[in-house]
């Protein structure tokens, strides 16, 4: 398998684009025509061939450009990557997990050679060829978590498990849906989810936590989450809200299909062996509405979901102001026909 990496941007001129193949494999998050919170966990690691669920860490045509965008964000704000002192071992766990998975799943792109603690890592797309000593941070240019997550798409939260709770105590967060790692670091599972409406009352987080605490080493899990973003911007951080906020108000009936994106998070959970921590990668996928409606099932379904979404959720996800425009645009692609179950396009 060869991947043609796009030359594209996630800011300024927003040249981000999905190839026809990337559109077909987009992780559409709705398996029915309405949406409410659920602890929608599934086993992760060997999903449908060609889908983003096929491998433990999906590498796609946006890989190189996303890593370039991460570098820009980190240069402007190094606090997007932080690890509390006791999380270093978990950082090594994460480095090993990603290096092993990528070199096994994409051998033509990545290779890992190990001779005891002497490791040799080759990342061909990013032109990295590096020999280092495992568990010796002085042999890496960054801490282990930062080193590997500068080479892996998506955000990463690394959670400590203790006192029957999960604590967000390390992370690399540059493509987030409006939450701040710098502010939330050190919080437990309930605290960092505190701003989410309705779900606490529904007992969603209690059930989810119970599930996550029991995740075992060889049994990673996944779920999908979603929101709406104007322009294909990865860095929709609260830190830069005053910079990207005005763009939210640039939507018009004429440009909605082109400028409004569905933003999907593929959230996965892996037990880390040495630290007993939990890795929580949050991979962001973006698709413009005009690309999305080329799959008729998705156009119909997204229209119904957005139209019928409870107001609190639209408000929390930050698109109340644009909801009428989005619903109007999508209604043109909903002929009222029934949709098939599941998230994948009809053949």
């Amino acid at each position: 398998m060869t991947i043609q990496f796009n030359d594209e941007t996630f800011r300024d001129d927003y040249s981000y684009h999905n190839s026809p193949a990337a559109i077909r494999r987009f992780p559409f998050p709705f398996d029915k025509d309405d949406y409410m919170y659920a602890v929608n966990m599934e086993p992760h690691g060997s999903g449908r061939a060609g889908s983003p669920f096929e491998n433990r860490f999906d590498v796609d045509e946006h890989y190189v450009a996303e890593m370039r965008d991460r570098e820009i964000t980190l240069k402007e704000d190094p606090l997007r990557c932080q690890s509390l002192p006791h999380m270093e071992l978990a950082g090594w766990d994460l480095l090993e997990l990603i290096m092993e998975a990528k070199s096994e799943d994409y051998p033509e792109l990545f290779s890992l050679h190990r001779d005891g603690d002497r490791w040799h890592w080759i990342n061909r797309p990013l032109g990295i060829d590096h020999k280092f000593t495992f568990l010796d941070p002085t042999t890496l240019p960054y801490g282990p978590m930062e080193y590997i997550t500068r080479q892996a798409q998506g955000d990463f939260a690394v959670l400590d498990q203790r006192d029957g709770n999960l604590w967000m105590e390390a992370g690399m967060v540059t493509s987030q849906a409006d939450w701040s790692l710098d502010f939330d670091i050190g919080m437990n599972f309930f605290e960092w989810h505190a701003p989410v409406p309705l779900a606490h009352e529904m007992g969603i987080f209690q059930r989810a936590l119970k599930f996550l605490l029991a995740i075992q080493q060889d049994a990673p899990s996944r779920r999908l989450n979603w929101t709406m973003t104007v322009n294909p911007r990865l860095d929709t951080s609260p830190e830069n809200y005053h910079k990207w906020g005005p763009e939210k108000r640039t939507l018009t009936p004429e440009n909605t299909g082109e400028k409004q994106y569905l933003r999907v998070e593929l959230q996965t959970f892996f037990r880390l062996p040495r630290s007993n921590g939990l890795a929580f990668p949050i991979r962001c996928y973006l698709i413009s509405l005009q690309d999305l409606v080329t799959v008729p099932k998705w156009g119909r379904r997204l229209h119904r979901v957005i139209r019928d979404l409870p107001d609190e959720l639209a408000e929390y996800k930050g698109f109340t102001v644009n909801r009428p425009l989005i619903v109007e645009y999508l209604s043109r692609f909903d002929d009222g026909k029934p949709t098939s179950p599941g998230i994948f396009p009809d053949e």
């Binding site: 502010f183 919080m187 505190a194 701003p195 906020g245 102001v321």
Partner: protein, 200 residues
């Protein structure tokens, strides 16, 4: 001035349960202004907390100091401000044994900052008792420039570092000992809603 009762909010917003005595164990007591009354109430509820107690009091214009000292704690010190007493407080924490209880009373800013110090020193949250007394002013972090603005009493307010107009969220970071302030006119620059007094 009685203990403040806050309206229920999101889970990350701290709740101050009031000072419950834990008997004769080593105690660090830190209070400011009307928080001194909470310490007096604590001592009245169980005088056994005194013999191993170090009391630090920041009067902030209040005259409770002599009364606190007259209770006869193991040691008593009056400080001009939290900042001025911080080095001594840190040393006390560094030398504290595992059964030490920390009693905090005063504004959220004082409780929050002292809690963050104690947690950083290895103390567990359950070993910390806190009671809110006095001003409802909040300690706010600007999520944009990261600067802390002390004694915020209105929503929205102006960040004392970068000048952005920020609205006050109940989302709270124990590490920063601060609530989160987010630009109120990010999407519509210049459209700042009128200021309102922060309520409990």
């Amino acid at each position: 001035m009685p203990a403040t009762k806050f309206t229920p909010s999101i889970i990350s917003r701290p709740i101050y349960g009031g000072l419950t005595p834990h008997g004769t164990v080593p105690a660090l007591m830190l209070a400011s202004g009307p928080g001194g009354e909470a310490l007096l109430d604590l001592i009245a509820a169980d005088p056994a907390v005194l013999p191993h107690a170090t009391v630090i009091y920041i009067p902030e214009g209040s005259d409770l100091g002599p009364r606190l000292e007259a209770q006869g704690p193991a040691s008593y010190v009056e400080a001009a401000s939290y900042a001025s007493i911080l080095p001594r407080f840190r040393k006390l924490l560094a030398e504290a044994p595992m059964n030490t209880r920390l009693y905090l009373a005063g504004t959220e800013g004082l409780i929050g900052q002292a809690t963050a110090e104690a947690l950083a020193a290895g103390m567990l949250l359950e070993a910390i008792e806190a009671e809110h007394r006095g001003s409802l002013a909040r300690r706010m972090q600007c999520v944009h420039c990261k600067g802390i603005t002390e004694d915020v009493t209105t929503d929205p307010f102006t960040c004392s570092h970068c000048g952005l107009s920020l609205f006050v969220r109940d989302h709270y970071s124990r590490r920063y000992a601060a609530f989160q302030g987010v630009c109120v006119d990010a999407e519509t620059p210049g459209e700042v809603p009128p200021k309102q007094e922060i309520k409990a």
